[in-house]
Symmetry: C2
Subunit: 317 residues, 2 copies
């Protein structure tokens, strides 16, 4: 029931993803038509005037809560939701619980760059983070990049307003010092203008900044391609050119389309959790479910748990 | 002497802007070739290992400091610099000084949107701002939009991670409450994905977030247009199409090119100050100087001073 287009697009996306080793289980109200998929009734809904995080605490019959509990109890392998991020975080913290040594789970979004995926975290779980959280996001991102993206010694950068170490706000200045003193492959600050060019294998920031910058990327890509189309269609010459470049433009749009990834792992919990865009289409939902499937196959949670250093050694200061 | 390409591009840009009522005065070392323009010797330089803000306090012979003092003393009408933003801010605070009632000056960047310019502030002067600063940025932005952009009742939005009032970090939640209680035309939160579409006449945020989001926009536009060119040139069909759409793509690139604006006003000081990109080309510098010229003609400082409310009434809570 999470997301702007639930339940129709969620159900359709689950149907698309079904098969090839993936068995979707739909959590939703009794009157849901599960189109032949497995269906567990979760009768509660978040009311219009209710804070999502409060609802998670109060209502065990929310689809999100029921799905997280299924993962915790072992009756499902991963949970996928396009619902409210804050609600997902709270449900994950309560029902899946944090991995040992983890302060805060973080959303890790793979940014599609010309050099391959660049992992941005946190993309929205922790809007007010502390420097030691950013350090730990870098640790989790590095383990993920090594184990899952098979990058030998992942480069880590800190998102800030200039490459020089003294450029930043109070949070990034403190985080820079922690990262520089850690045993990570820290390469200093990255500017947001470099993100899409592939600034580093892992780019860390607080969840507010990460969410803002990610939506800026997505919005700019969309607006720019639309503006280009308008400019092209303003003249007959342009129109003809537009027809000819259409396959090229489509390849680019597909590569950069957030729906192509569909979702992002919420790293740091004891169960696998994928957060999809609130406005996810069925295609995005299907890809988010496949992302969850790959995460299970490749044991994202187990490999992160096995390598997560103790807090003391994380800081290394 | 400020900026990555000083002094060559600065001098060339000043030469481009000279005439039509603009008389550039170059502040720089004795061995500078001023190509016939007025030249005031400013012998000091910021050392490699020196913090720019410290240098401003210690060295009266820095070109930036000398230029700010010229404005304060009335021997110049405005100062333009592509140098370090922090240095410019400190030089402005010390030598130009704040307008009455102003807590913090803010960099106001006009984002080129399909609906006309959208003023983003603060774009980098205050990396750690408080909620009352954000409120005042909204006040300065609204006055600027009314007086200079001739927008009758400028819409103000607060940059955050969701449109709902409860979405944001501690800073934006507090700023949201202040803005909602003010007599500004506050329309709630804006997401960064809407910025280039024209989210509002005035969009406020802290300087760290503003700088990050602005560079994300610029970097994404540049990277995307480059990637599109690469895709287009991958096939003969695409190449032909690329030739045909070239004028359209060029129109778009020009409209969105940061060099077209060249710089941004640092609002809230008693003298007119324009901050240009560190990597400004001569064209960008010329446009930044013209922006300063228009600011003098249209009395940006005087009109802001005349309408800047007292702090108590600013808060209106």
């Amino acid at each position: 029931m999470g997301g702007d287009r639930a339940p129709a697009e969620i159900v359709a996306g689950a149907l698309l993803a079904a098969g090839s080793g993936i068995t979707p289980i739909l959590y939703g109200p009794a009157d849901l038509d599960p189109v032949g998929l497995e269906h567990v009734v979760a009768p509660d809904r978040i009311a219009m005037d209710e804070k999502p995080a409060d609802a998670v605490r109060a209502k065990p019959g929310l689809s999100l809560v029921a799905a997280c509990r299924a993962v915790a109890e072992g009756s499902a392998d991963a949970v996928v939701s396009a619902g409210n991020t804050g609600a997902m975080l709270v449900a994950g913290l309560i029902h899946l619980r944090r991995l040992p040594h983890v302060y805060r789970p973080a959303i890790a979004v793979p940014i599609p760059t010309a050099k391959g995926p660049s992992l941005l975290l946190d993309a929205g779980a922790n809007v007010d983070a502390r420097a030691e959280h950013l350090l730990q996001f870098a640790v989790m991102g590095s383990i993920f990049a090594e184990e899952l993206l098979e990058i030998a010694r992942p480069e880590v950068r800190l998102l800030s307003i200039g490459e020089e170490p003294e450029k930043g706000n109070a949070l990034t200045l403190e985080a820079h010092a922690l990262l520089a003193a850690s045993d990570l492959h820290f390469r200093g600050n990255a500017e947001s203008r470099e993100l899409l060019r592939g600034a580093a294998d892992v780019v860390v920031c607080d969840g507010f900044t990460g969410n803002i910058v990610l939506k800026a990327l997505e919005g700019t890509i969309e607006t720019l391609l639309d503006a280009l189309r308008t400019e092209i269609e303003a003249t007959p010459r342009g129109k003809l050119g537009g027809l000819l470049i259409r396959p090229a433009a489509r390849r680019l749009r597909t590569r950069l389309d957030p729906d192509t990834y569909g979702g992002a792992y919420l790293l740091g919990l004891r169960g696998l959790s994928v957060i999809a865009h609130g406005n996810s289409s069925r295609l995005a939902i299907a890809n988010a479910i496949r992302l969850a499937g790959r995460g299970v196959d490749r044991d994202v949670v187990g490999r992160l748990a096995a390598r997560m250093p103790e807090r003391r050694s994380v800081a290394a200061v």
